[in-house]
């Protein structure tokens, strides 16, 4: 188990020194613009080493006590925050997942579909209205013929 981890560790620290031939794909970086200062380089190399040293002091030599550190409130909070991956999961949950699920849930039945239902209701209303005229009684039918004649002649006169 240890061997591959060791290889990875070394690579992680010193891998930057290996030259990757990407000039053919990406344009060569402009000179001077993206040069990182030597100070930055030093800090970047120093930080992981500092981490190794700290963890040695905590877990290797036990010079520093984990329990004592954890009794501090600030440290505990910081631990929880880091342990939760800088709170990114929570952030995503709040920013994306919950709103998206909410958005999905509010319109499960697809409001667009109501448009077609509206048409069905409209035509059924038309049907109900007209169906009442089919009363079956002869006097009303005669009236409709006579009334229709008058209506048509009037319309013909008006138009």
């Amino acid at each position: 188990m240890a061997a591959p981890l060791l290889v990875l560790m070394v690579l992680a620290l010193a891998g930057g020194l290996i030259h990757v031939p990407t000039e053919s794909v990406f344009a060569a970086p402009g000179h001077g613009e993206h040069q990182v200062s030597t100070l930055m380089h030093s800090i970047m190399i120093a930080v992981p080493l500092l981490g190794i040293a700290l963890s040695y002091l905590f877990y290797g030599s036990r010079t520093l006590s984990v329990e004592r550190l954890m009794s501090n409130n600030v440290a505990r909070g910081l631990h929880r925050f880091w342990f939760a991956g800088w709170g990114f999961d929570g952030l995503y949950r709040r920013l994306f997942i919950t709103p998206y699920l909410w958005l999905a849930a509010i319109n499960k039945r697809d409001v667009v579909d109501t448009a077609s239902e509206f048409l069905v209701i409209l035509s059924e209303a038309g049907n109900a209205m007209l169906a009442r005229s089919q009363s079956g009684s002869l006097r009303w039918y005669i009236l409709s013929v006579v009334g229709g004649t008058v209506l048509l002649i009037t319309l013909g006169g008006v138009l």
Partner: protein, 500 residues
């Protein structure tokens, strides 16, 4: 002649399949399979002899006088675009017959009759270049599909079948009115009646009227595609249709809408289509995002896949209204790839329903342990649908986005979000159905995994998707001339859009 043969093969194959039921209930499916496979052979031949340097637009044509007193001819023709789509139709025909193989035991003869007639109608739609003939096939393919849903559908089939028929018929009437107006103007301008595509292309209507006519065409095709807000028939039709019906609907019928837009709406009405582009792109983006969102809320697995279909067809609409070669190629590739992946997903959903007797995902879960082969197949098609590079869907959607990027950066950016939400629902389905805890209330111990027939079908579709993903040029080259011709022929379109 080849085209006529394909049509006749399907029409008479259908009749024969129906009649053969009298002798043995297993005959119809064999006859159906044979006829569909037989249509595939001349298509392969056409594909093999395809010459990319060819001068003429059509690969083959067929023309006979039909109703001369109305200027109607029986004209069929095929170009690269139609060839690919007819190929897809024929291929999915085989899949559909395979999907129905054991599912349909009841009145099998009539089922395969309807199946083959639907296919014949679709092939007719893809090859007709007389607009009356096109409309004729456009309507003809709906009736057998109605029967398939209404007879072999599930619990709510009456509602679904009627809704499907009414939506498509009503918008078909709008198409007919627009078409007749177009022909009428042609008659006034040129002095003779004609429904021929190439004749009508010469007509320039212009102005407000052209916009109205274009809308008639657009609504009919956008309903079939479907695009928001004309999509609400699709989830019902899909969830109620038998598996083979869903395969045909999602795989083939939806593509006729896209085909209509590419072949007819934009070339016939270039000016108004150009003016309409912002609206169409907006509808496409809304389709992609809105339906992806609605899909996530569904618990019926077929409804869910149906909504994802609408979402994916949004990319097709996007690519079409980009109206440049890349966008159109993207639309075409998306059609092919979505045809395969949606057909496969619906088959899987049908397979699940056949085994569990439910489409409710809340009653599923943890099926991986019980049906591992099915789960792996489902995973494959899920990642295909979410646009995994190396498979056809990625190529299509990528090209669509690329095409539309040069037209509208906003539309491209928003549509690209669709690829993210696609992963959300695809993986969500996998989790809900195959992973997690098994549902303790359901007795699922005796579930059978995929058998050889099913594996062969899914294998075919997987091969197709990989082929589309790894060798897209084998398909893009075929459609390039046709699409190039279509998109470059309408100068008016480019001119108008340049001003926007």
């Amino acid at each position: 002649m080849t085209l006529l043969w394909i049509l006749l093969l399907l029409f008479f194959g259908g009749v024969l399949a129906w009649l053969s039921e009298i002798f043995d209930s297993r005959f119809p499916r064999w006859i159906a399979l044979l006829s569909v496979v037989a249509t595939f052979i001349p298509l392969l031949q056409l594909y093999g002899s395809f010459d990319a340097q060819r001068e003429s637009l059509w690969i083959i044509e067929f023309s006979r006088s039909w109703i001369p007193s109305l200027g109607i001819n029986f004209m069929l023709a095929i170009d690269g675009l139609s060839l690919l789509l007819v190929g897809l139709t024929s291929f999915l025909g085989i899949i559909a017959v395979g999907a129905a193989w054991v599912e349909i035991r009841d009145r099998a003869g009539f089922f395969y009759f309807n199946l083959l007639w639907t296919l014949a109608g679709v092939v007719g739609v893809f090859t007709a270049i007389d607009l009356f003939l096109f409309f004729f096939f456009w309507e003809v393919m709906l009736i057998p599909m109605y029967f398939i849903i209404a007879i072999w559908g599930h619990e709510n089939k009456r509602y679904a079948a009627t809704k499907f028929f009414l939506y498509t018929q009503f918008t078909g009437m709008l198409l007919l009115v627009s078409l007749l107006c177009l022909v009428y103007f042609f008659t006034i301008q040129y002095g003779y009646l004609s429904f021929a595509y190439e004749d009508l292309l010469r007509l320039e209507v212009g102005g407000k009227l052209e916009m109205w006519l274009m809308l008639g065409f657009f609504i009919a095709f956008a309903t079939k595609l479907p695009s928001v807000p004309f999509h609400s028939w699709l989830p019902d039709a899909h969830s109620q249709a038998p598996t083979a019906g869903s395969v045909l609907l999602a795989g083939v019928l939806l593509k006729t809408g896209a085909y209509g837009l590419i072949r007819f709406t934009l070339p016939l009405f270039p000016e108004s289509s150009a003016q309409f582009t912002p609206v169409a792109l907006t509808l496409a983006v809304i389709s992609i995002l809105y339906c992806a969102k609605v899909a996530l809320a569904q618990s019926d697995i077929k409804r869910l896949i149906a909504y994802t279909s609408v979402s994916h067809m949004g990319f097709v609409l996007l690519g079409i209204y980009a109206w440049n070669l890349i966008g159109l190629q993207g639309a075409m590739m998306t059609m092919l790839a979505h045809g395969l992946s949606a057909a496969a997903l619906f088959s899987l959903a049908g397979g699940l329903q056949g085994r569990l007797h439910t489409r409710d995902m809340r009653r599923m879960g943890g099926l991986w342990a019980l049906v591992p082969r099915m789960a792996v197949v489902a995973l494959f098609f899920s990642v295909a649908a979410l646009g995994m590079p190396g498979l056809g869907n990625f190529v299509g959607e990528f090209l669509s986005l690329l095409g539309v990027f040069s037209v509208s950066i906003w539309a491209a950016a928003l549509a690209a979000l669709g690829m993210i939400v696609a992963s959300v629902y695809s993986l969500w389905v996998m989790q809900a159905v195959f992973q997690g805890a098994q549902n303790p209330e359901e007795d699922q111990a005796l579930l059978s995994d995929l058998d050889a027939r099913e594996l062969a079908l899914y294998g075919l579709m997987m091969m197709g998707l990989i082929l589309l993903g790894l060798f897209p040029n084998a398909f893009l080259d075929v459609s390039a001339i046709a699409l190039e011709h279509l998109s470059s022929a309408s100068d008016a379109f480019v001119a108008v859009r340049g001003r926007l």
